[in-house]
Protein backbone atom coordinates (compact mmCIF):
# COMPACT_ATOMS: atom_id res chain seq x y z
CA UNK A 1 0.00 0.00 0.00
CA UNK A 2 2.83 2.41 0.92
CA UNK A 3 4.68 1.51 -2.28
CA UNK A 4 1.57 2.28 -4.29
CA UNK A 5 1.42 5.68 -2.63
CA UNK A 6 5.07 6.39 -3.56
CA UNK A 7 4.43 5.38 -7.16
CA UNK A 8 1.42 7.64 -7.26
CA UNK A 9 3.35 10.61 -5.87
CA UNK A 10 6.25 10.02 -8.30
CA UNK A 11 3.86 9.67 -11.23
CA UNK A 12 2.09 12.86 -10.23
CA UNK A 13 5.35 14.78 -9.90
CA UNK A 14 6.49 13.77 -13.40
CA UNK A 15 3.26 14.80 -15.04
CA UNK A 16 2.96 18.00 -13.10
CA UNK A 17 6.34 19.61 -13.71
CA UNK A 18 6.32 23.41 -13.41
CA UNK A 19 6.35 25.51 -16.56
CA UNK A 20 9.01 28.19 -16.89
CA UNK A 21 8.20 31.65 -18.18
CA UNK A 22 10.15 34.39 -19.88
CA UNK A 23 10.01 38.00 -18.76
CA UNK A 24 7.05 40.15 -19.81
CA UNK A 25 6.75 43.92 -19.88
CA UNK A 26 4.07 45.95 -18.12
CA UNK A 27 0.51 44.72 -18.01
CA UNK A 28 -2.43 47.11 -18.23
CA UNK A 29 -5.87 46.50 -16.81
CA UNK A 30 -8.33 47.97 -19.27
CA UNK A 31 -12.06 48.65 -19.02
CA UNK A 32 -14.88 49.71 -21.29
CA UNK A 33 -15.33 53.46 -21.52
CA UNK A 34 -18.67 53.20 -19.68
CA UNK A 35 -16.93 52.15 -16.44
CA UNK A 36 -16.86 55.06 -14.04
CA UNK A 37 -14.12 53.80 -11.70
CA UNK A 38 -10.77 55.54 -12.22
CA UNK A 39 -8.61 53.01 -10.43
CA UNK A 40 -8.79 49.60 -8.83
CA UNK A 41 -6.69 48.14 -6.04
CA UNK A 42 -5.30 44.62 -6.29
CA UNK A 43 -7.95 43.56 -3.74
CA UNK A 44 -10.73 45.02 -5.85
CA UNK A 45 -9.38 43.23 -8.91
CA UNK A 46 -9.25 40.01 -6.90
CA UNK A 47 -12.88 40.53 -5.83
CA UNK A 48 -13.86 41.05 -9.46
CA UNK A 49 -12.01 38.00 -10.78
CA UNK A 50 -13.22 35.76 -7.93
CA UNK A 51 -16.75 36.97 -8.82
CA UNK A 52 -17.30 38.29 -5.31
CA UNK A 53 -17.76 41.73 -6.85
CA UNK A 54 -20.21 41.60 -9.74
CA UNK A 55 -21.30 45.24 -9.87
CA UNK A 56 -19.38 48.44 -10.49
CA UNK A 57 -19.87 51.22 -7.96
CA UNK A 58 -22.75 52.63 -10.04
CA UNK A 59 -24.57 49.29 -9.94
CA UNK A 60 -23.78 48.29 -13.53
CA UNK A 61 -22.84 44.66 -14.07
CA UNK A 62 -19.18 43.71 -14.38
CA UNK A 63 -18.21 41.48 -17.30
CA UNK A 64 -14.86 39.78 -16.81
CA UNK A 65 -12.49 38.53 -19.48
CA UNK A 66 -9.44 36.33 -19.00
CA UNK A 67 -6.86 34.43 -21.03
CA UNK A 68 -7.19 30.72 -21.72
CA UNK A 69 -4.63 28.23 -20.38
CA UNK A 70 -1.14 29.03 -19.13
CA UNK A 71 0.51 32.21 -20.30
CA UNK A 72 3.08 34.59 -19.00
CA UNK A 73 0.68 37.50 -18.83
CA UNK A 74 -1.92 35.49 -16.96
CA UNK A 75 0.63 34.39 -14.38
CA UNK A 76 1.81 37.95 -13.90
CA UNK A 77 -1.72 39.24 -13.50
CA UNK A 78 -2.64 36.49 -11.03
CA UNK A 79 0.54 37.14 -9.05
CA UNK A 80 -0.53 40.77 -8.79
CA UNK A 81 -3.84 39.62 -7.31
CA UNK A 82 -1.99 37.12 -5.03
CA UNK A 83 -3.86 34.08 -6.22
CA UNK A 84 -2.93 31.07 -8.32
CA UNK A 85 -4.71 29.58 -11.28
CA UNK A 86 -5.95 26.47 -9.50
CA UNK A 87 -7.45 28.38 -6.59
CA UNK A 88 -9.18 30.64 -9.07
CA UNK A 89 -10.55 27.66 -10.97
CA UNK A 90 -11.87 26.14 -7.74
CA UNK A 91 -13.63 29.39 -6.83
CA UNK A 92 -15.19 29.73 -10.30
CA UNK A 93 -16.40 26.15 -10.28
CA UNK A 94 -18.17 26.55 -6.97
CA UNK A 95 -19.77 29.82 -8.08
CA UNK A 96 -20.80 28.39 -11.43
CA UNK A 97 -22.34 25.27 -9.91
CA UNK A 98 -24.20 27.18 -7.24
CA UNK A 99 -25.46 29.69 -9.79
CA UNK A 100 -23.83 32.58 -7.96
CA UNK A 101 -21.50 33.64 -10.75
CA UNK A 102 -20.40 33.02 -14.29
CA UNK A 103 -16.69 32.40 -14.93
CA UNK A 104 -14.96 34.96 -17.16
CA UNK A 105 -15.18 34.85 -20.89
CA UNK A 106 -11.81 33.48 -22.02
CA UNK A 107 -9.84 34.53 -25.06
CA UNK A 108 -6.60 33.42 -26.70
CA UNK A 109 -5.00 36.69 -27.76
CA UNK A 110 -4.58 40.25 -26.56
CA UNK A 111 -6.35 41.48 -29.69
CA UNK A 112 -9.42 39.39 -28.83
CA UNK A 113 -9.31 40.65 -25.23
CA UNK A 114 -9.22 44.27 -26.41
CA UNK A 115 -12.09 43.66 -28.80
CA UNK A 116 -14.24 42.11 -26.04
CA UNK A 117 -13.48 44.88 -23.56
CA UNK A 118 -14.17 47.69 -25.98
CA UNK A 119 -17.35 46.21 -27.38
CA UNK A 120 -19.36 45.58 -24.24
CA UNK A 121 -20.19 48.12 -21.49
CA UNK A 122 -18.94 47.11 -18.05
CA UNK A 123 -16.20 44.80 -19.31
CA UNK A 124 -12.75 44.50 -17.74
CA UNK A 125 -9.65 42.71 -19.03
CA UNK A 126 -5.86 42.92 -19.10
CA UNK A 127 -3.31 43.10 -21.89
CA UNK A 128 0.38 43.94 -22.43
CA UNK A 129 0.86 47.71 -22.36
CA UNK A 130 2.39 47.74 -25.83
CA UNK A 131 -0.80 46.27 -27.33
CA UNK A 132 -3.17 48.94 -26.09
CA UNK A 133 -4.83 50.95 -28.85
CA UNK A 134 -5.42 54.67 -28.52
CA UNK A 135 -8.44 55.85 -26.51
CA UNK A 136 -8.53 52.74 -24.34
CA UNK A 137 -9.26 53.25 -20.67
CA UNK A 138 -6.42 51.94 -18.51
CA UNK A 139 -7.13 51.86 -14.77
CA UNK A 140 -4.17 49.85 -13.46
CA UNK A 141 -0.64 49.32 -14.73
CA UNK A 142 1.29 46.36 -13.35
CA UNK A 143 5.09 46.51 -13.52
Amino acid sequence: MVNLLYIWILFSAIFDAPVSYVQLGKVAVIVHESVKSDELSSQQLLDIYTLNAQNWSDGKKIYVTDFKGDSEIRTKFYNYMSINKNDMKRIWLRKQFSGSGTPPLTVKTAEEMIEKVLSKPGTVGYVPVDKIPLNTRVIVTID
Binding site: W8, N52, Q54, N55, N86, I91, R94
Partner: protein, 407 residues
Protein backbone atom coordinates in the same frame (compact mmCIF):
# COMPACT_ATOMS: atom_id res chain seq x y z
CA UNK B 1 -46.23 34.32 6.89
CA UNK B 2 -46.30 32.93 3.38
CA UNK B 3 -48.34 35.96 2.32
CA UNK B 4 -45.79 38.23 3.97
CA UNK B 5 -42.96 36.56 2.02
CA UNK B 6 -44.88 36.98 -1.20
CA UNK B 7 -45.49 40.67 -0.51
CA UNK B 8 -41.78 41.26 0.08
CA UNK B 9 -40.98 39.58 -3.19
CA UNK B 10 -43.57 41.58 -5.11
CA UNK B 11 -42.18 44.82 -3.68
CA UNK B 12 -38.72 43.81 -4.85
CA UNK B 13 -40.07 43.02 -8.30
CA UNK B 14 -41.40 46.57 -8.52
CA UNK B 15 -37.90 47.93 -7.95
CA UNK B 16 -36.45 46.02 -10.91
CA UNK B 17 -35.40 48.02 -13.89
CA UNK B 18 -37.00 46.80 -17.04
CA UNK B 19 -34.64 45.66 -19.73
CA UNK B 20 -35.06 44.79 -23.34
CA UNK B 21 -31.55 43.40 -23.72
CA UNK B 22 -31.21 39.65 -23.89
CA UNK B 23 -27.85 39.59 -25.56
CA UNK B 24 -26.40 36.67 -23.71
CA UNK B 25 -27.52 33.18 -24.68
CA UNK B 26 -28.53 30.50 -22.24
CA UNK B 27 -25.57 28.56 -20.79
CA UNK B 28 -25.93 24.83 -20.42
CA UNK B 29 -23.35 22.86 -18.47
CA UNK B 30 -23.22 20.04 -15.98
CA UNK B 31 -21.43 17.06 -14.60
CA UNK B 32 -21.86 13.38 -14.08
CA UNK B 33 -20.31 10.87 -11.74
CA UNK B 34 -20.32 7.16 -12.41
CA UNK B 35 -18.92 4.74 -9.88
CA UNK B 36 -18.11 1.17 -9.09
CA UNK B 37 -19.47 0.35 -5.65
CA UNK B 38 -18.59 -2.65 -3.53
CA UNK B 39 -20.73 -2.73 -0.42
CA UNK B 40 -20.46 -5.10 2.52
CA UNK B 41 -22.73 -5.05 5.55
CA UNK B 42 -22.31 -7.39 8.52
CA UNK B 43 -24.88 -7.40 11.31
CA UNK B 44 -25.60 -9.22 14.55
CA UNK B 45 -28.90 -8.86 16.39
CA UNK B 46 -29.04 -10.52 19.78
CA UNK B 47 -32.11 -11.44 21.77
CA UNK B 48 -33.77 -8.15 22.63
CA UNK B 49 -36.96 -8.07 24.66
CA UNK B 50 -37.52 -4.38 23.96
CA UNK B 51 -37.40 -4.31 20.17
CA UNK B 52 -38.98 -7.71 19.68
CA UNK B 53 -36.56 -8.50 16.86
CA UNK B 54 -35.46 -12.18 16.76
CA UNK B 55 -31.77 -13.03 17.28
CA UNK B 56 -29.97 -13.29 13.99
CA UNK B 57 -26.76 -12.45 12.21
CA UNK B 58 -25.66 -12.23 8.64
CA UNK B 59 -24.23 -10.11 5.94
CA UNK B 60 -24.91 -8.54 2.61
CA UNK B 61 -22.50 -7.92 -0.19
CA UNK B 62 -23.05 -6.25 -3.51
CA UNK B 63 -20.89 -5.27 -6.45
CA UNK B 64 -22.40 -2.76 -8.78
CA UNK B 65 -21.75 -0.03 -11.25
CA UNK B 66 -23.98 2.98 -11.17
CA UNK B 67 -24.26 6.36 -12.77
CA UNK B 68 -24.53 7.96 -9.38
CA UNK B 69 -25.65 11.35 -10.57
CA UNK B 70 -25.97 13.62 -13.55
CA UNK B 71 -26.80 17.29 -13.17
CA UNK B 72 -27.71 19.69 -15.91
CA UNK B 73 -27.52 23.40 -15.20
CA UNK B 74 -29.09 26.16 -17.23
CA UNK B 75 -28.34 29.82 -16.58
CA UNK B 76 -29.44 32.87 -18.46
CA UNK B 77 -29.04 36.56 -17.70
CA UNK B 78 -32.43 38.24 -17.93
CA UNK B 79 -31.03 41.73 -17.75
CA UNK B 80 -27.98 43.41 -16.28
CA UNK B 81 -28.53 42.29 -12.70
CA UNK B 82 -31.03 39.48 -13.08
CA UNK B 83 -30.17 35.83 -13.57
CA UNK B 84 -32.24 32.71 -14.02
CA UNK B 85 -30.82 29.38 -12.79
CA UNK B 86 -32.16 25.86 -13.27
CA UNK B 87 -30.57 22.76 -11.78
CA UNK B 88 -31.97 19.39 -12.80
CA UNK B 89 -30.74 16.14 -11.33
CA UNK B 90 -30.85 12.51 -12.43
CA UNK B 91 -29.67 9.83 -10.03
CA UNK B 92 -28.88 6.11 -9.90
CA UNK B 93 -29.08 5.08 -13.57
CA UNK B 94 -32.26 7.08 -14.01
CA UNK B 95 -34.58 5.06 -16.22
CA UNK B 96 -38.37 5.14 -15.97
CA UNK B 97 -38.69 1.91 -17.95
CA UNK B 98 -36.61 0.05 -15.38
CA UNK B 99 -37.97 2.02 -12.41
CA UNK B 100 -34.43 3.02 -11.62
CA UNK B 101 -33.27 6.23 -9.98
CA UNK B 102 -34.96 9.60 -9.73
CA UNK B 103 -35.21 12.80 -11.71
CA UNK B 104 -35.96 16.05 -9.97
CA UNK B 105 -35.65 19.78 -10.22
CA UNK B 106 -33.21 20.72 -7.50
CA UNK B 107 -33.35 24.43 -8.06
CA UNK B 108 -35.21 26.91 -10.25
CA UNK B 109 -34.83 30.51 -9.21
CA UNK B 110 -34.41 34.07 -10.35
CA UNK B 111 -31.81 36.27 -8.66
CA UNK B 112 -31.69 40.04 -8.63
CA UNK B 113 -28.34 41.52 -7.58
CA UNK B 114 -28.34 45.31 -7.78
CA UNK B 115 -25.37 45.54 -5.43
CA UNK B 116 -22.85 43.04 -4.10
CA UNK B 117 -24.16 43.75 -0.60
CA UNK B 118 -27.69 42.75 -1.56
CA UNK B 119 -29.03 39.91 -3.64
CA UNK B 120 -32.50 38.43 -3.57
CA UNK B 121 -33.41 35.03 -4.95
CA UNK B 122 -36.91 33.75 -5.41
CA UNK B 123 -37.89 30.25 -6.45
CA UNK B 124 -36.93 26.74 -5.50
CA UNK B 125 -33.42 26.98 -4.07
CA UNK B 126 -30.88 25.26 -1.86
CA UNK B 127 -30.41 27.67 1.03
CA UNK B 128 -27.04 28.81 2.34
CA UNK B 129 -26.40 26.75 5.45
CA UNK B 130 -22.93 25.79 6.61
CA UNK B 131 -20.40 25.29 3.84
CA UNK B 132 -21.75 22.23 2.06
CA UNK B 133 -25.52 22.58 1.89
CA UNK B 134 -25.64 24.92 -1.07
CA UNK B 135 -23.32 22.65 -3.08
CA UNK B 136 -24.20 19.32 -1.48
CA UNK B 137 -24.85 17.56 -4.78
CA UNK B 138 -21.96 19.05 -6.83
CA UNK B 139 -19.61 16.08 -6.87
CA UNK B 140 -16.79 17.61 -8.91
CA UNK B 141 -16.25 20.07 -6.07
CA UNK B 142 -15.55 17.26 -3.60
CA UNK B 143 -12.58 14.93 -3.28
CA UNK B 144 -14.85 12.13 -2.06
CA UNK B 145 -17.50 9.92 -3.68
CA UNK B 146 -19.58 9.12 -0.61
CA UNK B 147 -20.30 12.45 1.09
CA UNK B 148 -20.43 13.17 4.84
CA UNK B 149 -23.37 11.17 6.23
CA UNK B 150 -26.17 13.70 6.37
CA UNK B 151 -25.40 14.97 2.87
CA UNK B 152 -25.29 11.52 1.29
CA UNK B 153 -28.48 10.58 -0.52
CA UNK B 154 -27.28 6.95 -0.69
CA UNK B 155 -27.79 6.77 3.08
CA UNK B 156 -31.24 8.35 3.15
CA UNK B 157 -32.76 5.15 4.51
CA UNK B 158 -30.41 5.35 7.46
CA UNK B 159 -30.21 9.07 8.04
CA UNK B 160 -32.90 11.50 7.02
CA UNK B 161 -31.18 14.69 5.78
CA UNK B 162 -34.16 16.87 6.73
CA UNK B 163 -33.45 16.09 10.37
CA UNK B 164 -30.15 17.99 10.05
CA UNK B 165 -30.36 20.25 7.01
CA UNK B 166 -32.89 22.74 5.67
CA UNK B 167 -34.02 21.16 2.42
CA UNK B 168 -35.32 23.98 0.27
CA UNK B 169 -36.04 27.67 0.62
CA UNK B 170 -38.05 29.89 -1.69
CA UNK B 171 -36.91 33.38 -0.79
CA UNK B 172 -33.34 34.24 0.14
CA UNK B 173 -31.59 37.56 0.68
CA UNK B 174 -27.81 37.48 0.80
CA UNK B 175 -24.78 39.65 0.28
CA UNK B 176 -21.12 40.39 0.83
CA UNK B 177 -19.41 43.26 2.58
CA UNK B 178 -15.81 44.33 2.68
CA UNK B 179 -14.56 44.36 6.29
CA UNK B 180 -10.78 44.57 5.84
CA UNK B 181 -8.03 44.26 3.24
CA UNK B 182 -8.12 40.51 3.66
CA UNK B 183 -11.65 39.65 4.71
CA UNK B 184 -15.19 39.77 3.40
CA UNK B 185 -18.28 39.28 5.54
CA UNK B 186 -21.18 37.37 4.05
CA UNK B 187 -24.76 36.89 5.16
CA UNK B 188 -27.86 35.07 4.02
CA UNK B 189 -31.39 34.89 5.40
CA UNK B 190 -34.14 32.77 3.93
CA UNK B 191 -37.61 31.36 4.31
CA UNK B 192 -39.08 28.15 2.97
CA UNK B 193 -41.44 25.30 3.64
CA UNK B 194 -41.33 22.82 6.47
CA UNK B 195 -39.90 19.36 5.77
CA UNK B 196 -41.52 17.28 3.03
CA UNK B 197 -43.35 15.11 5.59
CA UNK B 198 -45.87 17.96 5.70
CA UNK B 199 -46.57 17.80 1.98
CA UNK B 200 -49.86 16.58 0.57
CA UNK B 201 -49.33 13.06 -0.70
CA UNK B 202 -52.10 13.35 -3.27
CA UNK B 203 -54.46 15.80 -4.84
CA UNK B 204 -58.19 15.79 -4.15
CA UNK B 205 -61.12 17.71 -2.72
CA UNK B 206 -61.45 15.64 0.43
CA UNK B 207 -65.20 15.26 -0.04
CA UNK B 208 -66.23 12.09 1.74
CA UNK B 209 -62.57 11.37 2.38
CA UNK B 210 -61.19 10.50 5.79
CA UNK B 211 -57.57 11.02 4.70
CA UNK B 212 -56.35 14.46 5.78
CA UNK B 213 -53.22 14.36 3.67
CA UNK B 214 -54.62 15.79 0.46
CA UNK B 215 -54.81 19.15 -1.19
CA UNK B 216 -55.44 20.76 -4.53
CA UNK B 217 -52.04 19.66 -5.79
CA UNK B 218 -49.76 16.88 -4.71
CA UNK B 219 -46.71 18.21 -2.88
CA UNK B 220 -48.42 21.27 -1.39
CA UNK B 221 -47.06 21.92 2.07
CA UNK B 222 -50.12 21.71 4.30
CA UNK B 223 -48.83 23.53 7.36
CA UNK B 224 -49.46 27.24 8.05
CA UNK B 225 -45.88 27.50 9.36
CA UNK B 226 -42.55 28.21 7.66
CA UNK B 227 -38.90 27.38 7.95
CA UNK B 228 -36.57 30.34 8.59
CA UNK B 229 -32.81 30.29 8.45
CA UNK B 230 -29.62 32.29 8.23
CA UNK B 231 -25.88 32.07 7.81
CA UNK B 232 -23.34 34.71 8.78
CA UNK B 233 -19.72 34.25 8.00
CA UNK B 234 -16.37 35.62 7.01
CA UNK B 235 -14.02 34.54 4.27
CA UNK B 236 -10.68 35.62 2.97
CA UNK B 237 -10.70 37.43 -0.35
CA UNK B 238 -8.99 34.53 -2.11
CA UNK B 239 -11.44 32.15 -0.38
CA UNK B 240 -8.66 30.13 1.21
CA UNK B 241 -10.36 30.60 4.58
CA UNK B 242 -14.03 30.46 5.43
CA UNK B 243 -15.91 30.40 8.70
CA UNK B 244 -19.57 30.77 9.47
CA UNK B 245 -22.43 30.12 11.81
CA UNK B 246 -25.85 29.03 10.62
CA UNK B 247 -29.24 28.46 12.17
CA UNK B 248 -32.75 27.49 11.22
CA UNK B 249 -36.09 27.17 12.89
CA UNK B 250 -38.85 24.89 11.68
CA UNK B 251 -40.98 22.00 12.89
CA UNK B 252 -40.38 18.26 13.03
CA UNK B 253 -43.46 16.36 11.89
CA UNK B 254 -44.24 13.92 14.68
CA UNK B 255 -47.95 13.81 13.97
CA UNK B 256 -47.60 10.14 13.14
CA UNK B 257 -45.05 7.50 14.02
CA UNK B 258 -42.74 6.94 11.09
CA UNK B 259 -42.45 3.55 9.46
CA UNK B 260 -38.77 3.85 10.22
CA UNK B 261 -39.49 3.82 13.97
CA UNK B 262 -41.99 1.01 13.67
CA UNK B 263 -39.54 -1.14 11.74
CA UNK B 264 -36.94 -0.76 14.43
CA UNK B 265 -39.20 -1.04 17.42
CA UNK B 266 -42.27 -3.00 16.29
CA UNK B 267 -43.74 -3.77 19.70
CA UNK B 268 -43.18 -0.37 21.29
CA UNK B 269 -45.84 2.20 22.07
CA UNK B 270 -44.21 5.19 20.40
CA UNK B 271 -45.85 8.48 21.41
CA UNK B 272 -47.34 10.95 18.93
CA UNK B 273 -45.71 14.30 19.63
CA UNK B 274 -47.34 16.53 17.02
CA UNK B 275 -45.40 19.45 15.53
CA UNK B 276 -42.18 19.70 17.47
CA UNK B 277 -40.37 23.03 17.31
CA UNK B 278 -36.89 22.42 15.96
CA UNK B 279 -33.75 24.57 15.95
CA UNK B 280 -30.66 23.70 13.96
CA UNK B 281 -27.50 25.47 15.07
CA UNK B 282 -24.39 24.94 13.03
CA UNK B 283 -20.93 26.17 12.24
CA UNK B 284 -18.46 25.53 9.47
CA UNK B 285 -14.75 26.05 9.02
CA UNK B 286 -12.65 25.46 5.95
CA UNK B 287 -9.17 26.60 4.98
CA UNK B 288 -6.18 25.91 2.80
CA UNK B 289 -2.70 25.72 4.29
CA UNK B 290 -0.07 25.04 1.65
CA UNK B 291 -0.99 21.80 -0.05
CA UNK B 292 -3.54 20.91 2.63
CA UNK B 293 -7.25 21.64 2.58
CA UNK B 294 -9.30 21.22 5.72
CA UNK B 295 -13.06 21.40 6.06
CA UNK B 296 -15.31 20.71 9.02
CA UNK B 297 -18.90 21.25 10.10
CA UNK B 298 -20.87 20.84 13.27
CA UNK B 299 -24.66 20.70 13.52
CA UNK B 300 -26.69 20.62 16.72
CA UNK B 301 -30.40 19.91 16.36
CA UNK B 302 -32.60 20.91 19.28
CA UNK B 303 -36.28 20.06 19.71
CA UNK B 304 -38.34 22.19 22.06
CA UNK B 305 -41.81 23.24 23.20
CA UNK B 306 -43.55 19.93 23.32
CA UNK B 307 -45.36 19.49 26.64
CA UNK B 308 -45.64 15.78 26.04
CA UNK B 309 -41.91 15.51 25.45
CA UNK B 310 -41.24 17.27 28.74
CA UNK B 311 -43.74 15.07 30.52
CA UNK B 312 -42.20 11.88 29.20
CA UNK B 313 -38.63 13.15 29.49
CA UNK B 314 -38.06 12.56 25.81
CA UNK B 315 -35.22 14.04 23.81
CA UNK B 316 -35.14 14.15 20.03
CA UNK B 317 -31.88 16.11 19.88
CA UNK B 318 -29.18 15.23 17.42
CA UNK B 319 -25.55 16.05 16.72
CA UNK B 320 -23.56 15.78 13.54
CA UNK B 321 -19.91 16.52 13.02
CA UNK B 322 -17.56 15.91 10.14
CA UNK B 323 -14.01 16.80 9.28
CA UNK B 324 -11.99 16.13 6.17
CA UNK B 325 -8.32 16.76 5.43
CA UNK B 326 -7.09 16.69 1.84
CA UNK B 327 -3.46 16.72 0.79
CA UNK B 328 -3.03 18.08 -2.71
CA UNK B 329 0.17 16.26 -3.59
CA UNK B 330 0.44 18.40 -6.68
CA UNK B 331 -1.92 20.05 -9.12
CA UNK B 332 -3.07 16.69 -10.44
CA UNK B 333 -3.43 14.34 -7.51
CA UNK B 334 -4.71 14.33 -3.97
CA UNK B 335 -5.39 12.04 -1.05
CA UNK B 336 -7.68 12.62 1.89
CA UNK B 337 -9.01 11.25 5.15
CA UNK B 338 -12.30 12.10 6.78
CA UNK B 339 -14.51 11.28 9.71
CA UNK B 340 -18.17 11.91 10.43
CA UNK B 341 -20.33 11.14 13.42
CA UNK B 342 -24.01 11.24 14.19
CA UNK B 343 -25.54 11.01 17.62
CA UNK B 344 -29.27 10.74 17.54
CA UNK B 345 -31.16 10.73 20.82
CA UNK B 346 -34.53 10.27 19.16
CA UNK B 347 -34.88 6.59 19.93
CA UNK B 348 -33.09 6.33 23.22
CA UNK B 349 -36.24 6.87 25.20
CA UNK B 350 -37.62 3.77 23.54
CA UNK B 351 -34.54 1.64 23.86
CA UNK B 352 -31.79 3.05 26.09
CA UNK B 353 -29.20 0.72 24.59
CA UNK B 354 -30.30 1.21 21.01
CA UNK B 355 -27.67 1.10 18.29
CA UNK B 356 -28.06 4.83 17.88
CA UNK B 357 -26.78 5.42 21.38
CA UNK B 358 -23.16 5.48 20.36
CA UNK B 359 -24.02 7.07 17.09
CA UNK B 360 -23.18 6.32 13.53
CA UNK B 361 -19.44 6.59 12.97
CA UNK B 362 -18.00 6.81 9.50
CA UNK B 363 -14.28 6.91 8.69
CA UNK B 364 -13.01 7.29 5.18
CA UNK B 365 -9.80 7.52 3.17
CA UNK B 366 -9.36 8.06 -0.51
CA UNK B 367 -7.57 9.80 -3.31
CA UNK B 368 -7.98 11.10 -6.78
CA UNK B 369 -6.30 12.11 -9.99
CA UNK B 370 -7.29 15.12 -12.08
CA UNK B 371 -6.76 13.93 -15.61
CA UNK B 372 -7.47 17.39 -16.97
CA UNK B 373 -9.80 20.29 -16.24
CA UNK B 374 -12.83 18.15 -16.96
CA UNK B 375 -12.19 14.66 -15.60
CA UNK B 376 -11.33 13.52 -12.08
CA UNK B 377 -10.79 9.87 -11.19
CA UNK B 378 -11.55 9.07 -7.56
CA UNK B 379 -11.21 6.16 -5.19
CA UNK B 380 -12.56 5.83 -1.66
CA UNK B 381 -12.84 3.38 1.17
CA UNK B 382 -15.55 3.98 3.78
CA UNK B 383 -15.93 2.15 7.07
CA UNK B 384 -19.08 2.73 9.07
CA UNK B 385 -20.30 1.35 12.36
CA UNK B 386 -23.85 1.82 13.57
CA UNK B 387 -23.33 1.78 17.30
CA UNK B 388 -22.21 -1.26 19.28
CA UNK B 389 -24.11 -2.52 22.28
CA UNK B 390 -25.45 -5.64 23.91
CA UNK B 391 -28.21 -6.03 21.33
CA UNK B 392 -27.01 -4.93 17.91
CA UNK B 393 -23.79 -4.55 15.94
CA UNK B 394 -23.75 -3.32 12.35
CA UNK B 395 -20.55 -2.77 10.35
CA UNK B 396 -20.51 -1.43 6.83
CA UNK B 397 -17.73 -1.18 4.25
CA UNK B 398 -17.92 0.70 0.97
CA UNK B 399 -15.18 0.47 -1.60
CA UNK B 400 -15.67 2.84 -4.53
CA UNK B 401 -14.01 3.98 -7.69
CA UNK B 402 -15.49 6.64 -9.87
CA UNK B 403 -15.10 9.29 -12.50
CA UNK B 404 -16.42 12.83 -12.18
CA UNK B 405 -16.85 14.46 -15.55
CA UNK B 406 -17.60 18.11 -16.18
CA UNK B 407 -19.18 19.19 -19.40
Amino acid sequence: MKLFSLLIFLLLILTLKSTAQFEEPISIYGFTQSIYLNKKVAYTIKDNPISGLPPTSGGLESDSFVMQQLNLFFTRPLGDNITFFLNTEFTANYNTKLSSGDMNIQEAWVAYRPRDEFQVKFGLLLPVYNNLNEIQNRFPLFPYIIRPIVYESFLEQLVQPADYLPQRAFLQISGLRNISNKLLAEYAIYVGNLESDYNASRAGTGTGDSDENFSYFRGEELSPKNMFGFRMGIKSRNESFKFGISGTHDYDNRRTVSSFSLARFPIQQIPILGDVSRYRIASDLSFFAGPFAFEAEYIKVLHRNSALMNLLGISLDKDFVYANLTWNINQKSFIYAGYSLIRNEAFEYVMPNSPDYKGLNVSTIGGGWRLNDYIVAKGQFVYGTVGTNQYVTIDTNFFNFGLSVLF
